[in-house]
Each structure stands twice: as structure tokens, then as C-alpha cells.
Symmetry: C2
Subunit: 135 residues, 2 copies
């Protein structure tokens, strides 16, 4: 089965169906589709959040991974970090316009995953029956 809709656009941009090694798109995809990158971007899709709020919203993320993920997304220009000179001082994180663009593209994929996740996970809970099959 082949996919039609956007594939010709990708091939026109790249000259091939898959970004080659060293293509900047691979670098960017690794950031925005990383395990925690997706979830941090989603958390900020709805509202500006402080560090502690982000930590609670992205259930399960460690301090270290949150710091690392935010640094990468800020350097990419997808997340804006603002230190608020109030008392006590705090830092707020929000999506930049580019960050909002990427979330618009991530959301249909995440909705698909939420919709189909239980069915796909159930396949992993069945006995394989093919465990001895060669590649």
C-alpha cells in the first residue's frame, strides 16, 4: 500500500523519499519527535508555563531531562524562555511562532496515537506465535 497525499511534496523538496544522512531535517526531527520533546511541546501548546508547572504537566519527566529538552528546543527557536523580574523571580516558557507550527503538525500524529494506542499495545500483549521465524 502506498501513500499519496504529501509524498510528492516531500520528494520534490528532497529529490528522494527519505532525508539523507546529514540532512538538517533529521537533526530537527530528532529534537521535536524525541520522547520528551513531543510532550514538552504539547504541554506548551495550551499555555505559557513555569518550570514547576511544566514538570507536573509532563508526567514522569526528570529535572535533568526537562532542563535538557528545554535547552534544545530553546536553541532551535521553538520555545521562548522569559525570566520575570518579579519577587520571587521566576522563569516562564512558551512556544514561539515556529514552535506553534511544529505543534500543529504533531497534534494529528498524537491524536492518532491516542486513538490507536490501546489496539497496538494489545498486539504486544499477545503471544507472538512467530518467535522462531527467521528475518
Amino acid at each position: 500500500m502506498t501513500v499519496s497525499t504529501d509524498l510528492p511534496i516531500l520528494k520534490a523538496l528532497l529529490g528522494e523519499p527519505v532525508p539523507p544522512a546529514g540532512c538538517p531535517s533529521r537533526f530537527v526531527l530528532n529534537h521535536v519527535t524525541s520522547k520528551w520533546g513531543v510532550l514538552v511541546l504539547l504541554a506548551l501548546a495550551e499555555e505559557t508555563l513555569r518550570w514547576g508547572e511544566l514538570r507536573r504537566t509532563v508526567d514522569g519527566i526528570s529535572e535533568k531531562m526537562l532542563a535538557q529538552t528545554l535547552q534544545i528546543l530553546e536553541r532551535d527557536g521553538l520555545v521562548h524562555r522569559e525570566a520575570r523580574p518579579v519577587i520571587p523571580p521566576h522563569v516562564e516558557y512558551s512556544l514561539t511562532p515556529s514552535g506553534s507550527e511544529v505543534v500543529e503538525h504533531l497534534l494529528p500524529l498524537v491524536i492518532w496515537a491516542v486513538d490507536r494506542g490501546p489496539e497496538i499495545l494489545a498486539r504486544w500483549e499477545e503471544p507472538t506465535g512467530e518467535s522462531g521465524s527467521p528475518r
Copy 2:
């Protein structure tokens, strides 16, 4: 800046903006957005491919990572593996209908990354100028 289009759908499905720890969607997202998962799915978007063809199309993938990625995507029900009883025998890989669905959702994200990749990579090649700033 907030995102409007699909966020209410995600919140209606989940009851919150970010899939919680243990949500099957996180399990599935980790497969379809993995570094090599994205590229293998894209390679199969256009046509059924044999092992060696896949290896060449997904520039840079090792034998080990290709085997592991295909096993995961097959178990997810996104890739179909067919052993052809011809001489010499060979195995073909193609997208299932679910695999085609996920590629339809991945393509706009990949096109965005191809389009914006050079600009984002350039930000990483600039001196930071903020290297001493606190979190």
C-alpha cells in the same frame, strides 16, 4: 502563543493536554517517532521494498537497527513482512493500512522539518552569547 486547531480534540480524548505516563499513546509514539522508525516508514510510503533496498534507502541505518526497527513496526501492525517463496527466496516489507495512516500524519511534520531544518541548524552554528545564563 497557543495552538488552536487540534488541541481541543486531544484534550477531549485524553482529558488533559499531555498523555500521562503509562498511556498507550506514549508507547506507540516512541515507535513511530524514533530516529529510524520515521525513516523506515517514509521509505515504505512509496513502495514495497526488500531488505537490501530498505537498507540503501534509509541512508546510514545499520543492519542491527534496521532489523530492530522492522521487528517493532511489524509487531505494532504498521509494517507487513512477506517471505516470497521464489528462487532465490527473499522477504518484502510494505505498509499495512495502519502504517499508511501513520505516514499520512508524519509527512506534514517531515515536510516542515525539511523546509525549516537549515534555518534551525544555523541557529546551532551561531555562538550562543547566552552560555553563562542561568536556567
